[in-house]
Symmetry: D2
Subunit: 334 residues, 4 copies
């Protein structure tokens, strides 16, 4: 019973249907009929003209966005627990040619406008110091919290005021939208976001994420960078088809709601005492002793230990309801 | 009727079966059961212990190999018409952090041992000059010729003598093996090759190529580079499953033979007068006037113009026999 | 009366004499007679065979050392207040092609062995995480403290245990040696140091620092990197002559002692209450109110404000004794 | 008797006087009085507002210019015999983060407008191909020829038409101006040049070249890149003082005229039969047999062999008139 991550979930049935349907004569790279629809599909979804590119990983999507927003000699403000800092093996530095991540603090891996403003103001102007050029947040965060539209917009204000490009790592963007019940636009361009890494793979996709530019001026050079990074697959139609299938019938929201609902059931079972942070998406951190963790594992539940005395539980679109119920009961019984 | 490239061919049925079969609970990245089999499957195929990694594009496979073989301040000897020089948008320079491609000449995009030796000897030793560190050839070449085992081994000798790492871009390696009827080992490690980009996508795959290290010392750092380039997909089992399916039942050879056979039929129809180069794999360059090219297109045949007065025809595993026959007839009728 | 930095001090007379003496027919780059003596001069000074290269800035010396010790996908452990992190505009990332600086804490910009060990142990092994490959300390530190031979050797032990290359940023190495009265060897190779940026410019030089490799295997590729970074000046003899002149007659120690002695006089005047940290080299941080700082400036003393309520005072080889006495008196009179 | 290169010539007396005069209290980096005059001095010289930066090598000046004109994924058109391609150890690729040099042909290392236009037109538009972003020429060229104002302007026209930034490697710019008797402006901004590497070291300087931006928008980021490359020396006043001394009294022209005149005397002695190319600056290539070359060397003349049967002779500002006369006589006597 897998609760260690949503990144190993199955691909949802709509994906396989879409792949089969895409298996017909077409041209290569992103010249095919599916890929050519991508801008339109996502412009509709976001209610504004966007440039959208399929991309095989969230790491690549994040880092192409950062490369578009920050020169090699610049800096990117992010949380110290951000995925781009901790889990991408230096990919941001690779794609940006050595930009520096500037690390801020904040509970639940969230940055506040005041924190960002103070980080920018702390940097002396002048060539000896790396100047911040971009801000990157993760929504939902690495600790399962969400930024609301208002919070995002407040960060967007700071970004604008300080001349920072604004990127959202949306590996679990669907979970955030599902939680908030807002329009995708409210968490992005209406809040001043320039680029979004829109995650599909954790949410039931197979091998395609999408990089969205609301600031479409950034897209042209990114097409070159994507090819140069070896991320322009020749049979792009199979990439585009996956994400179109998940967008067109709101599969992305259906899947995210399922994952969130499973997490909510577990959170209710755990209760506020055990929860390190509120559960707002599909991740939670539960206080358990080593013995309790061992007891859960003995019952067949698979999850990661996190900090001392904490277990991380992650649900996904395909979390087996019976397994979720069983885990909820097991937590209650601790 | 598509003859413009094999990179837009359909994925073969075995691929879809493999994807469906891989859609079960497993862990992420390349920790899953399929990915963990990769080294074994390819070690069996090559008859020696290798390290194998799935990778989404040939460009990324090539450039990860070059990064393993050449430092940022070094040079890579390749043909002036090599894919890495002309068709990868500077990806080799990106992955190697700025190594220089050193361009040699030779008919049909083939390099001879003498050419390589002369290129190395021409470089003055000393820090003002980029020193060659690697040799990269393409087999089958960009012009549809193959290097035989003997030719490859002769290049391997030069590489060894001059201290060069030796990489083969095998985007159409299957076509070369199918043509030559040799063991895969004969075109690689027995000939001194350190790393092979083993192409599957042009040959009926969907989204996975394989990077093979015969010199296994090169693999450890490459795992980091692959992740850092955003090429470690989270649902790796769908990547591994594709290529395992194509290797285990010799699908890769079956498909390559079909493509080669289709090319041979067209070559026979064209006759030696029209052929710019011998046809040894699944690409050919045919002398046609502008009127003749237009006539072919009017009959529904899709292909690229190449140099002045030349058309490039490429067959693939799924080239429709009827379309091949029709094109052969149309060429004869010119 | 300049107390804002030693980096704007005059060049000492021996430098000008050496430049004049070097102005004769010779060959270019580092093939000249002076440059060819560099290895010998520094091998004598350190009592072991070293490879030494003149280099125009400490930033370049530091970053060439880091590039030799850390691959692009690796990390360099340093103090969060290190010059390489804060004052080099991302040069470490440029030269290493994007290695990540991993920031530790410790009073007075010093790292302890326990801190370093804990930083290494905290990193999970695996390709998702940047792995530490090098350790860089500054001696004397950015806050004017020194690492003793014993402290350095203890760090060297950790470096060896954890497989880290070990670099010392010695922008004020002379001040540390002068303070400690030890052999240069005791702060470097005997303590496990692989590479030293040996500063001369702050200490009365004009335009040449020296990069020293105790681990001489690192030198060969560094010669290429130096040229590639545009740091192989054509008239290298003027570079080599400067540092040889400062080493051969112990001018480097004479100058450092003068700077340290001036600082000691000021420290005595300030007294322990005002000093933020002990004064061990030629920098000090003095607690002063805004009014006090203004009063000092009104008397003609030029210095930087540091943290809230702190002034940084830096002495140099050419600090005018009368100015030092005057400042000492003025501090006493606050 | 040195005729192998001008890069090992002595520094002229005015340099030493300027260094001595600069040795006074001032601030660091380029905040000092001399450095702050640089823009003014060069704006006067060029008759337009420029941004000027001292820089320790021509390689660094060239490559900072290229980094300002070309993105990492772009290409720089230059002659196949250009210094940036052949003699800078990959520095252009380092500074530009992997841009590709695109090599053109032309006698005497000169590019013609038609050649450049054809090179641009040959590149298919699209993300698979590195797109040219800049043009770089060398004046005087690596073979001692000069581009006239008209020739330069014609290239500037092509650059403008094709959207290319335009850089001049002026390692021997002084020799070109001295030869042509034109205004420096005529070979630069009036001809559409965006950036010039203005060489002083080969022409009697000690350690400072100057990078000039006529397109001043390019300067701001370059200040960061210069620091990031470790090229912002702390005692910048000694750099600025050198070049100001050479500009203010036309020392740069006096020196270049001396070098050119010496070359002209040798060229006259050699006669048109022996000269591979016209002698327009201070380099020449003379046809000599191996026996003749040996005979010259036996008389104490030091020079490089170039191609088979060719010797390269380079004069400099300090070529000893007696040595020049002796060599002229020796050549006549061959």
């Amino acid at each position: 019973m897998r609760f260690f991550s949503d990144n190993a979930a199955a691909a949802c049935p709509e994906i396989f249907a879409a792949l089969a349907a895409a298996d017909s004569l077409d041209t290569a790279y992103d010249g095919d009929a599916h890929s050519r629809r991508l801008n339109g599909v996502f412009s509709d979804l976001f209610g504004t003209e966007v440039e959208a590119m399929w991309i095989a990983t969230g790491t690549a999507a994040n880092c192409l966005a950062l490369a578009a927003l920050c020169p090699p000699h610049g800096g990117v403000i992010c949380h110290k627990d951000a995925h781009i800092q901790n889990d991408e093996a230096g990919a941001p530095e690779f794609y940006t040619h050595g930009a520096k991540l500037m690390l801020g603090e904040g509970e639940g891996a969230k940055l506040s406008p005041d924190t960002v403003r103070a980080m920018v103001d702390r940097v002396t102007k002048g060539v000896h110091w790396v100047q911040p050029h971009a801000l990157s947040i993760t929504n939902a965060t690495e600790y399962g919290l969400v930024y609301t539209p208002e919070e995002t917009a407040a960060l967007g204000e700071v970004a604008k005021e300080k001349g920072l490009g604004f990127h959202v790592d949306g590996a679990r963007f669907a979970n955030a939208v599902a939680r908030l019940g807002c329009a995708p636009a409210d968490l992005t361009w209406r809040a001043g976001v320039d680029a979004l890494s829109f995650g599909f793979v954790k949410n039931g996709g197979l091998s395609s994420e999408v990089l969205i530019f609301f600031n479409r001026d950034l897209a042209a050079a990114t097409h070159y960078r994507r090819k140069r990074a070896g991320h322009l697959l020749s049979k792009g139609r199979y990439m585009a088809a996956q994400v179109i299938a998940m967008v067109e019938n709101d599969i992305w929201l259906r899947n995210a709601r399922q994952a969130n609902a499973a997490a909510a059931r577990l959170a209710e079972a755990a209760g506020p005492e055990r929860l390190v942070l509120p559960v707002e998406a599909n991740e939670m951190f539960v206080r358990v002793t080593a013995d309790e963790a061992a007891a859960l594992r003995a019952q067949g539940f698979d999850f990661y230990d996190w900090a001392e005395g904490e277990a991380r539980l992650v649900t996904s679109w395909d979390s087996d309801p019976a397994a979720v119920d069983a885990l909820a009961a097991a937590i209650r019984a601790l």
